[in-house]
């Protein structure tokens, strides 16, 4: 950033000569320091996970939740400034409620991502506000069935198409990541925060685009990825928080919920085991090297 010190980075919504908003880029820096958050889109649901660094032994285990529910069928997690994440969630809940008030039906994950993208972008437009210090991951399951309108009492006409096109699939998993600039994309797997590079590399190995990973495996993979991503930050303890949303036949019936305790513990056990196995492999490599060294010494 050669333009630093030229005064174009002092105020939000100011374009530098090469067309950048430095204040937004600084907000991204705040995100890059936060705990790793990830989301994985599976064939029958979505998983969200976050690494919560334990800053003090006086913190109560399991308290201070970082993943929030929006409406009943969506979840959001963010890396960066925690209060900005809370504000994000609060706005997302208002958007979901206002959608329901207007359309009498739950907001789709895509529409919520769009509205939140618009909201974050608005905070890059004025010098009187600062950009959001978070990158948020929004996950949801949009019902594959024709939902009744909120408050509906009868069943309506029993004939007619109901506006559905035959052969077309409706609903399904949604996963979006929204950055401080307001830029957002849909993802198969999304990662942000300190360990995002490692997490992304791990997720690329899963071939998520094929849409074959089951939700249960997704939960285990998510735990593993958070543990691997934490390896760069090993000196600090952390707590894993994980939520999921399944399809209507699945364990959460289209609702956003915490991953049950026994499943979470199982996923953590497997994650730790796979890390240890990796360490063992490295050690055996060392063992192989050692006799060679000894041989040399004998020579």
């Amino acid at each position: 950033m050669t333009s630093i010190g030229t005064g174009y980075d002092l105020t939000n919504s100011v374009f530098s000569p090469d067309g950048r908003n430095f204040q937004v880029e600084y907000a991204v820096k705040a995100v890059e320091n936060g705990g790793t958050s990830i989301g994985i889109r599976c064939k029958d649901g979505v998983v969200l996970a976050v690494e919560k660094v334990i800053t003090s032994k006086l913190l109560k285990a399991g308290a201070n939740k970082r993943i929030a529910t929006i409406d009943r069928h969506m979840g959001a997690v963010s890396s960066g400034l925690v209060p900005d994440g809370r504000h994000f969630v609060s706005r997302a809940r208002d958007e979901a409620a206002s959608w329901r008030k207007t359309y009498k039906t739950p907001i789709t994950t895509k529409d919520l991502a769009s509205r939140m993208g618009g909201y974050l972008q608005a905070y890059t437009l004025y010098s009187s506000v600062r950009p959001f210090g978070v990158t948020a991951i929004v996950a949801g399951w949009d019902s594959e069935l024709e939902l009744p309108v909120d408050g509906q009492v009868g069943s309506g006409p029993s004939i007619g198409s109901g506006g559905k096109v035959e052969g077309k699939t409706y609903g399904g998993p949604g996963l979006y990541m929204i950055e401080p600039s307001g830029q957002y994309w849909g993802y198969y797997g999304a990662a942000t925060g300190k360990g995002r590079q490692t997490a992304k590399a791990e997720m690329e190995k899963l071939d998520l685009a094929a849409g074959k990973l089951s939700l249960l495996d997704g939960v285990k993979e998510a735990a593993k990825i958070i543990y691997i991503a934490h390896a760069d930050n090993k000196d600090k303890e952390f707590e894993l928080e994980m939520t999921w949303i399944s399809n209507l036949d699945g364990p959460t019936k289209g609702r956003h919920q915490e991953v049950p305790k026994d499943l979470l513990e199982e996923a953590e056990r497997l994650a730790k085991k796979s890390l240890e196995d990796e360490d063992d492999e490295e050690e055996t490599k060392d063992d192989d090297d050692k006799p060679a060294d000894e041989d040399k010494m004998e020579e």
Binding site: A63, K65, A68, T69, D71, R72, R93, A97, R100, K104, D150, G151, Q152, V153, G154, S155
Partner: protein, 260 residues
């Protein structure tokens, strides 16, 4: 018509005279709902030893016209409580949405769901009372069935005036006159209700629904029935009244002296 846009599409003043603005009632009193339009009839409920049975038929009447015949008037809240609605159907739909947004917001808390049937009844009572105090009532009488804070069966009523009361058995509208005496035979007091089996309670409700169908001109033989216990809600929405007795009608001739 003249060339001024504000006059386009309006009756010509030179033909019809100036528009009489008094019809707009710009400074009259606010007018609120003064009577229900599409209505549901009775809701019945009775407590038993493990929970509550509640039922309502599937009819929404438009005056004396049986206009909508598949209207479900038992609404489940938070998978633990059933609210049975009598009275105006549009107001019932409003309340349904109100409760569902309350449900969503309540679940945002980290403690999880904390509203039981008792809390919900208190909430509804206050909504009803506020609205009637604004002279803009929600035209319903509702029964709330579920479990209270101690996990005991809970049943209470509230209505468009914000009146609230509780009893081992309850009925709204016509049911208060016809079904309540029948249910009171089975559960005259809390003690009797606490000994009642589920089967007896369901039977009492079904019998009462039948009597109401015989005698209430705004009722239907299709109904919904729910059994609420601590283990959850068993809701059946498309039941049909059985074992009606009409064979005697053949024997009745005339109004007094006619022999056949």
């Amino acid at each position: 018509m003249n060339h001024l846009p504000q006059a386009w599409g309006r009756p010509r003043d030179d033909v019809y005279g100036a528009y009489d603005g008094s019809y707009l009632q710009s400074n009259g009193p606010n007018q609120h709902t003064q009577s229900p339009v599409v209505t549901g009839t009775s809701v019945l409920a009775i407590k038993f030893k493990d929970g509550v049975v509640i039922a309502a038929d599937n009819l929404a009447s438009y005056g004396s016209l049986a206009r909508f015949t598949d209207v479900k008037r038992l609404r489940v809240f938070a998978e633990t409580t059933v609210v049975g609605f009598g009275g105006d159907v549009s107001d019932m739909q409003y309340l349904d949405r109100l409760l569902s947004s309350l449900d969503t917001e309540e679940a945002y808390g980290t403690a999880g769901h904390t509203l039981n049937a008792n809390n919900l009844h208190t909430y509804l009572t206050k909504v009803f009372y506020k609205r009637r105090s604004d002279f803009n009532p929600l035209w319903n009488q509702v029964l709330v069935a579920g479990m209270d804070g101690e996990g005991k069966p809970f049943l209470a009523s509230t209505d468009l005036l914000g009146t609230a009361f509780s009893s081992p058995s309850l009925a709204t509208g016509y049911g208060a006159h016809l079904a309540q005496p029948l249910m009171r035979k089975i559960a005259p007091d809390e003690e009797a209700a606490s000994k009642l089996s589920k089967e007896k309670a369901v039977e009492a409700i079904k019998e009462s629904m039948k009597v109401l169908y015989y005698r209430d001109a705004r009722s239907l033989d299709k109904y919904s029935i729910a059994v609420v216990t601590k283990d959850g809600i068993e809701l059946k929405e498309n039941e049909k009244l059985e074992n009606q007795s009409w064979a005697f009608a053949d024997q009745i001739r005339g109004y007094g002296t006619q022999v056949n």
